[in-house]
């Protein structure tokens, strides 16, 4: 089993990272005064005097951040970002933003720039592309198949337990397989997408989570399976919703209001479960709204380059963050508040780029933390057990000691799925899920699972460099930071490297809201990949160029 897992992860990441390498000039700008060509690599480019700009024009008549040249599905646009001397398109000063065509003359300060085509978009290239797509299809199908085989092997071990056959795990497996193939066919043939690595990774991890929950109880596995289906739909919805970053920018404020309302409902109608008041009961289903607020938080924090250049201050975002974290503290969900804080740091740094701001935030957070520790004694309690769990094996270190003892019992290869003892401990399939994986699936597989999320984080960072908008860059890094940090809190909390906090392991932990919101976050990383919308983009831009001729 670990071998199959290595195979899946290798294929996923190999194909993820291999396509990162192909880069080409999108267009070029011809500088009339110096007779030089300036290549444009990104979908969103800042133009100005500042050394951080993508196109640096060193002239006293140019503002630090003068303009933004960006690309959308229907062509290129130039936008003036509150410059002093203005931007002129074909001799006319533009108000806000204006569409630019090949051959148009842009006047920025005292420089004149002519928009030219990038690398030729020949038929040859198209043929190559087609061939690559075919290979890609085969490898995607192959990857989905081996993921299915992996889940099949795991379910079989549950099915044939103690010399008795049980069909139920195989039915669950059937649904997981069904979800993956339906998703693949819809998006391959209806929406003509070609990349499915992130989704396969998500399905691989969620499948492990469902099978693991099944070894605890079949009803919880059912909830988890249901959440997976909703999560995949939610994922698809978000990828469509943020397809146009300008539209998404307009929605930000409504999303923020919705988030605050959700938190408000939670505060007033929430139920207290296990020390924190973050559950809402809707008939048979209970939800954790704070999980969904994570997705909204990332959404609100992200911004296009135009948005960034025109509104430099972070006030709105800081206010929103304070409301979110404040509400979480009142609810007593200390772990989730920490995750929000990390997401806040990542977003704030990516938006402002200033180390000083981050430093100040950290200091003020440190002061805030000491206050909280004074008021919330149970949090202090957790810190008291930290790194001393064996001395508290029967009170506050109860869960951690069990995780350590049972993960050692599992060894590198595991005791076998369903044969563990950790599942009888409170909150095992959610907070202590890493321990369960270690015990039943083995240390090698558990480490593979967490490393796969770590590598997905690296991938998110790399593709954020080349994404179609800073909106995607910021949101994908923030989403990756949330997923990674949440996993760290969960895993390291249960093995006594961090103090234990009751947060979930993304994808794997038992918890419907958590699974759905993790899929939501994954959508942001997916969106940052410039290939996600590539088929459509190719068609539109081709038509557009034809029209130009």
């Amino acid at each position: 089993m670990p071998l199959i897992a290595i195979l899946i992860l290798y294929f996923c990441f190999y194909s993820l990272f291999s396509k990162l390498s192909d880069t080409r000039k999108l267009i070029t700008l011809y500088d009339v005064s110096s007779c030089s060509l300036i290549p444009i690599w990104y979908w969103e480019n800042s133009i100005g005097r500042h050394k951080h700009c993508d196109v640096i024009i060193d002239s006293p008549l140019v503002s630090r951040n003068h303009a933004v040249l960006y690309r959308r599905d229907d062509g290129w646009f130039i936008a003036d970002t509150n410059s002093k001397t203005g931007v002129f398109l074909n001799g006319k000063r533009i108000e806000k933003s204006e569409k630019v065509l090949v051959g148009d003359i842009l006047k920025i300060g005292d420089r004149e720039l002519i928009l030219k085509k990038g690398e030729p978009n020949s038929f040859n290239r198209n043929k190559r592309r087609k061939k690559r797509l075919e290979i890609k299809d085969i490898s995607t199908v192959f990857m989905i198949l081996i993921t299915n085989i992996f889940h099949l092997l795991a379910s079989l071990r549950l099915s044939y337990f103690e010399e008795k056959w049980n069909k139920e795990p195989l039915i669950f497996l059937g649904v997981i397989v069904g979800i993956s193939w339906i998703y693949y066919f819809i998006f391959r043939f209806v929406f003509r997408r070609s990349n499915f690595e992130l989704e396969i990774l998500g399905l691989f991890l969620s499948g492990i989570g469902i099978i693991n929950s099944y070894s605890v109880s079949s009803s919880s596995a059912f909830t988890q399976l249901f959440a997976l289906a909703i999560g995949v739909i939610f994922f698809s919805f978000i990828t469509f919703f943020i397809k146009n970053p300008d539209f998404a920018m307009k929605c930000r404020i409504y999303i923020a209001v919705l988030a605050v309302i959700l938190l408000g409902i939670n505060l007033f109608f929430g139920q207290v479960k296990n020390g924190s008041q973050n559950w809402i009961n809707l008939g048979n289903v209970s939800l954790q709204p704070s999980e969904f607020v994570k997705v909204m938080f990332v959404f609100f924090g992200a911004s296009t380059l135009y948005g960034l250049q025109t509104s430099k201050n972070l006030a709105g975002f800081i206010l929103f963050s304070c409301i979110c974290m404040g509400a979480l503290f009142i609810m007593g969900d200390f772990g989730t508040a920490c995750i929000f804080f990390v997401a806040f740091i990542v977003i704030a740094f990516m938006r402002s780029g200033s180390v000083r701001t981050i430093f100040l935030t950290l200091v003020s957070a440190g002061i805030g933390l000491t206050f909280i520790l004074n008021f919330k004694p149970y949090v202090v309690n957790r810190f008291a057990a930290w790194r001393h769990v064996w001395e508290h094996a029967n009170d506050i270190g109860y869960q951690q000691t069990r995780v350590l003892a049972y993960s050692a019992s599992g060894g590198l290869l595991g005791m076998g799925i369903g044969k563990g003892c950790l599942k009888y401990i409170f909150a095992a399939p959610s907070d202590l899920v890493f321990g369960m994986l270690c015990e039943e699936w083995g240390l090698i597989l558990s480490i593979l699972v967490i490393i796969s999320i770590g590598i997905a984080g690296i991938y998110a960072r790399l593709c954020s460099l080349r994404s179609r908008s800073t909106f995607y860059s910021i949101s994908s890094c923030a989403a990756a930071a949330i997923i990674l940090f949440q996993m760290m809190m969960n895993v390291f909390g249960s093995i006594d490297i961090f103090p234990l906090t009751g947060v979930t392991f993304p994808f794997v932990s038992l918890g419907g809201s958590s699974l759905i919101s993790t899929w939501g976050l994954l959508a942001f990383i997916k969106a940052a990949d410039e290939h996600t919308y590539s088929i459509r983009r190719y068609k539109v831009s081709f038509k557009g160029k034809e029209r130009l001729k």
Binding site: L404, G411, L412, M415, R461
Partner: protein, 456 residues
Amino acid sequence: MRSIVLYFIIFLFFIGTGFFVYEFLMKNKDWAFSSVNRHLSQGIISQGKILDRSGLILAETENRKRKYSDNEKIRKALLHVVGDGCAFIPTSIQSLYKSELFGYNYVTGFGMPSLLGFSQDLTLTLDSKICSKASESFKDKKGTALAYNYLNGEIICMVSLPTYDVMNRPILKNDDKYEGVYLNRAISSSYTPGSVFKIFTALAALDLIKDADKRSFSCNKIKLVDGEKIVCMKNHGKINLKEALCKSCDIAFSDIALELGKEKMTEKMNQFGFNSKLPFDKLELSASSYNVSNSSSGGLGWSGIGQYTDKLNPIHMLKIMGAIANGGICVEPYIVKSMKMNSYFSETKLKSPGLTKFLNTESADKVKEMMRYTMKNSYGDSKFSGIPMCAKTGTAEVGNNKFPHGWMVGFSYDKSFPIAFVVIVENGDFGIKSAGPIAAEMVKNIYNRFKNDKII
């Protein structure tokens, strides 16, 4: 480029993961065998057998239950060696060798099916019948009896009292009957030595005082040292070292301690293994102590005859007996004779962990002769049915109006029957009266057991 902040989190994550893997590799045994692990207590995983030297089963797993010897007397006698399966006796084989018995290793964890498992069967050097007889001969007294082969290190007998039957565990109230029941007294206790300490004093004298065995000491029953009284049993008059050991003259040995002084005595005792935790199997023994740094002269005198604050560990004494018998060099005692993994592997034979030179050969040989003289003239060879032995008894005053602890230590003179023994009976009255018969019976049993069987 600002997204570099994400790398920071990823970096932290990899450090944390690496740290966990490192901890896992270092501490996996501690974690797996911690008392919180229900895999162990539920008996899901089968453990290897424990056998005595003649192949009798002392413990085995059958139908997911740990079973012990069929014989109640053997179960009781070997409780402290075999263990009770609940980790109450941390010095027992089932605790010390749990990873071997359970077949634990960090690669497969406990996940291997028992047929293919790595669990090992252990064969001990002990003879269960001799142990059960020795244990019985204590009757209701507490204490410990040890015997080992001083040429190859195999422990033949090791019992500790009080004890109970693992298969019918009594309710262990905090009463006197079961006081310290989980202690293997041979390993985890140190007793006031009384007169057996005179062996050490004699060894120190022979090492440091020229012609110590030729000079004479004068005993007038009572001696005053800086106003403190040291009292002897009798007025021995002029007496040499050999006679002093034989008659256990207190005045002579306190004189030696006083003559050598605190520093030399402490130095010598440290050399003989006092004040340090000596190794035994995978353990450290409870330390024997000799500390006169704050004593008055009277205290120093008493320390030379095994009173004052002197403490002696039984296995330490056994090692010294082996060393005297063996020209100053102790063959370290050991208890696990061999290990055998499942039927696909051959048996791994174990050996004594090595030799330790505690004593000068010359002094050891002289003390050996003195102890032989003591045995012949003070106790009589008839006690051991004529087996030529060297021995010394001790009666350690423990205060509180309780009976003194009785000691008898010794070894066989003849190397064709190489046995050294230590017997302690707590609050058992005079050594020769309490420990003597137990020691004699044990040695005779061993002699009969190995009469037709090669002992080495």
